[in-house]
Symmetry: C2
Subunit: 275 residues, 2 copies
């Protein structure tokens, strides 16, 4: 059976760089023999706001708890069709690629709302109703690959190791680690194009060539070596053991086997286009 790749994308302008790269994804992946699934969030008029309308059959009609109602609607099969449909695509996919412009150092609201609504209790967190037993390397999306492809207005140097914005991979940690690896996915180093406001035709061509080569290695590239909860690195499942990442703290301590943590783990792989 063909491997399936889901593209979750968030830009409404057909001629934008983001959308050009999405088209390239579909074409390249199909040429490689994969089946491509698409979630074009703007095109679908995706409902971004997670609210009471997402729970037509409430566990508690009096008081809205998102965790309770998310778990109840997921386990009873009473979720809205748009949510259930995205979950089915996710479960079918061998890899998920997110393509979006970086807005205020994160996802556009329409994409954040896709995560908020689709990543249900019992599936993406609280897997099997077992609290935090399955997370960070294990869970409902275990073994799938994930990859972020971001278009960035500012220059690459602003996102470098000592750049004024902070390193891109650290800014994206809540997504790569806290959202995707949390559910069990193997997350690849981020692909980024910088300076999108002033890209020349040559710059676009170079970005496309670099993206094509990332796509061709989608199932070969080495994921970011985030530490899994069950690895023994977190003996109590909450805090790094004293024998691990000695002398380290913060986000970078959660990446294994690199001399100085997260930045190094990914800096060699992050493609920096633009200026």
């Amino acid at each position: 059976m063909k491997k399936q790749v889901l593209l979750v994308t968030a830009h409404p302008e057909p001629t934008s760089l983001t959308r050009r790269l999405v088209e390239l994804s579909a074409k390249t992946l199909e040429q490689q023999g994969y089946e491509v699934l698409q979630s074009d969030l703007y095109g679908m008029h995706w409902k971004a706001v997670f609210d009471e309308r997402d729970f037509p059959y409430r566990a508690d009609p009096e008081r809205l708890s998102f965790v309770t109602e998310s778990g109840h609607s997921y386990s009873t099969g009473t979720q809205p069709d748009d949510i259930a449909s995205e979950q089915q695509k996710l479960l079918a996919a061998d890899a998920v690629i997110f393509q979006f412009p970086l807005w205020w150092f994160g996802m556009p609201a329409i994409l954040k709302g896709w995560v908020d609504r689709v990543f249900a209790y019992g599936l993406a967190y609280g897997f099997k109703g077992a609290g935090n037993r399955y997370r960070y390397g294990d869970g409902g999306f275990k073994g799938k690959r994930a990859l972020l492809s971001v278009t960035v207005g500012g220059p690459a140097e602003d996102y470098s190791t000592r750049g004024i914005n902070g390193p891109l991979e650290q800014l994206l940690f809540p997504i790569t680690h806290g959202t995707l690896f949390f559910t069990g996915m193997n997350v690849l180093p981020t692909y980024a194009v910088y300076g999108t406001g002033s890209l020349t035709a040559e710059g676009v061509a170079a970005a496309e060539a670099a993206w094509r080569s990332r796509l061709e290695r989608l199932f070969e590239d080495t994921p970011i070596p985030f530490r899994s909860q069950s690895s023994g690195d977190y003996p109590d499942r909450h805090v790094l053991g004293g024998h691990v990442a000695i002398g380290q703290s913060g986000l970078t301590a959660h990446v294994a086997d690199t001399p100085d943590g997260y930045s190094t783990a990914v800096s060699g792989e992050t493609v920096m286009m633009g200026s």
Copy 2:
């Protein structure tokens, strides 16, 4: 004239801890003699998705560039009323408090969409049309205070210095530094209540008491000492100078005058309630 404080809040359930803390904010701030402005995003049915409907009079009807159209609609006064109204509240406010549940280590989509739509080019970025000249300590919201108040389902230890999620203040860096300090605001250490799924009545009372005391010190507490772009710490406006934060890299390097950076800068101030 009375000082004004804007509350931007994102929870639809009136009995939720988030909303209880919002009520406490309004009451406490009014008792102190401040004028309270509110943006209850769920109550307002805030439009979360930034799209072409936000630009009824386009600079370029053919191709949608968000930066171009944001700047054009802001400078020509053709923004939708809901966006202009929020900008007026922000400009009137001496302090802005964001109160929200932490969803996937970030803002709920409705709040991210408030930032995406309200933080216009020419005001929040590209201030005075001068590119990146005014940012990180200078800009359209210079001198206002900002404070995040977050309710967190998980236990505090998961967000500790070596906790499995990463330290809360580092996870929130794209908001505190990249969004609020970027526009010139002085950002206070985050207030957080943890373990909200299992809080006892005593826990709620303790959280409220701690929040009340933070509110009472809103204009006295020391902001996070983020390095400003114009301080000389970034001689080329992009990368830390070699004389600054020697041997440091990553997010923590952008906090001044603390022995080991960002975690230490805020760990003493972040209120950790719950378990």
